[in-house]
Point group: C2
Chain length 229, copies 2
């Protein structure tokens, strides 16, 4: 499935990480030769990486106008989270049907890593929060489900980058812990409830603080010369 052309692979992975860690914010332009130069490769490899990111929905490519980090709208955000709830409910159901000891350990270990990253206020913590959900999908053993969850979690991360508050990752860790606990007890109803409220919380964080329209004049109005505080 994942076509591995060694160079564009590396670029793809790096760009993807940069986007998910919010180093590259939505809307940032990604010209082919700029990226090629950054990674010391030709435009060709950069282009292939961008094409793959576009098929992931992480970047927008408009013909003859180049690529940019995707800027999901609020409507898309709602759409994505709605589908995400559906998929993650499926994940929970499958996990409750058959949860291994090793799976629990993997989840606990991941949550611990999340805590470490958060304490170090590392940009990794943002990405790890999403990868917790991907880990859950992987533990179902379904490659397809993992695939889809990966895609939709990535898009969700992009939405948080676009609309969410800064440092929005921290609030989630406690809920992740509760979720692991419910899964350990194979309490499906509780697990689904936690997951649903967790996702709603994430979504609310997104809807709550839509970033100012990137209207330069609005921003500059606070910097007018006339009435400087």
């Amino acid at each position: 499935m994942s076509s591995s052309n060694s160079r564009s692979d590396a670029i793809y992975a790096s760009l993807r990480r940069a986007i998910l860690e919010q180093a590259l914010r939505p809307g940032v332009k990604l010209p082919e030769d700029t990226i090629g130069d950054s990674f010391s490769v030709s435009r060709t490899s950069a282009r292939n990486a961008l094409l793959r990111l576009a098929s992931d929905g992480l970047v927008d490519i408009r013909p003859n106008r180049g690529a940019a980090v995707a800027m999901p709208s609020l409507a898309e955000a709602e759409d994505i989270f709605s589908l995400r709830r559906c998929l993650e409910r499926e994940v929970i159901e499958r996990l409750c049907r058959k949860m291994s000891k090793d799976g629990i350990d993997a989840m606990l270990s991941h949550v611990r890593e999340e805590e470490r990253a958060l304490k170090a206020s590392s940009p990794r913590s943002i990405r790890l929060a999403g990868e917790f959900h991907i880990l859950l999908a992987e533990l179902t053993g379904s490659e397809e489900l993992t695939n889809f969850v990966t895609r939709i979690v990535s898009r969700s991360s992009l939405i948080l980058a676009r609309f969410g508050r800064p440092h929005s990752a921290e609030c989630g860790i406690r809920e992740h812990q509760q979720l692991v606990e419910a899964l350990r007890e194979q309490d499906q109803a509780l697990a689904i409830e936690i997951m649903d409220s967790h996702l709603h919380a994430v979504e609310d964080r997104a809807n709550n603080d839509p970033d100012q329209e990137p209207d330069v004049s609005a921003i500059l109005s606070r910097y007018l010369i006339s009435d400087q505080p």
Copy 2:
């Protein structure tokens, strides 16, 4: 989302259709310059089209070994249909919650087209059978859900091409009609039941007749010189 480079777009669409209509069977090799020559474009455009098909899971690309129409295993088949049931259940639930008159008409019109294609024994009928399910997803109004359903239905078609009986499309039309009827009545329980049994029927058709392993020696064993009939 869908990056439109006019040339690779055309190739992508053509190859996709050819695969879904089973003109290109699983396992068929797709060398870049062969495809480029067929469409009178360079390898570059052919390559981009193949990359996109790979990200759809319709072709496998192995590094330095080229592309070929994907050959899903039986395990993958089970995985895919299991997730497909989950997604299509979501589609039904959403449609039952809010079903428009125009939507019903669109479905009926599609089913009629399926019948026409089947009577003409056109290769389109195979593809149309899958596109009925995509239409259902589109009628939910959710772009993401449509996206995912499109992907998984495509993979399912590939599985039928690999394992299913020839002309396996015909049996489904009656079930499609019943499904439209249930949706018209907004009878969610019935609609889900029909959908589930429909998908199980499709899946059974797949599991029933696994095509002979493409093992040349096995085939040639019937052509041995010793006891020629």
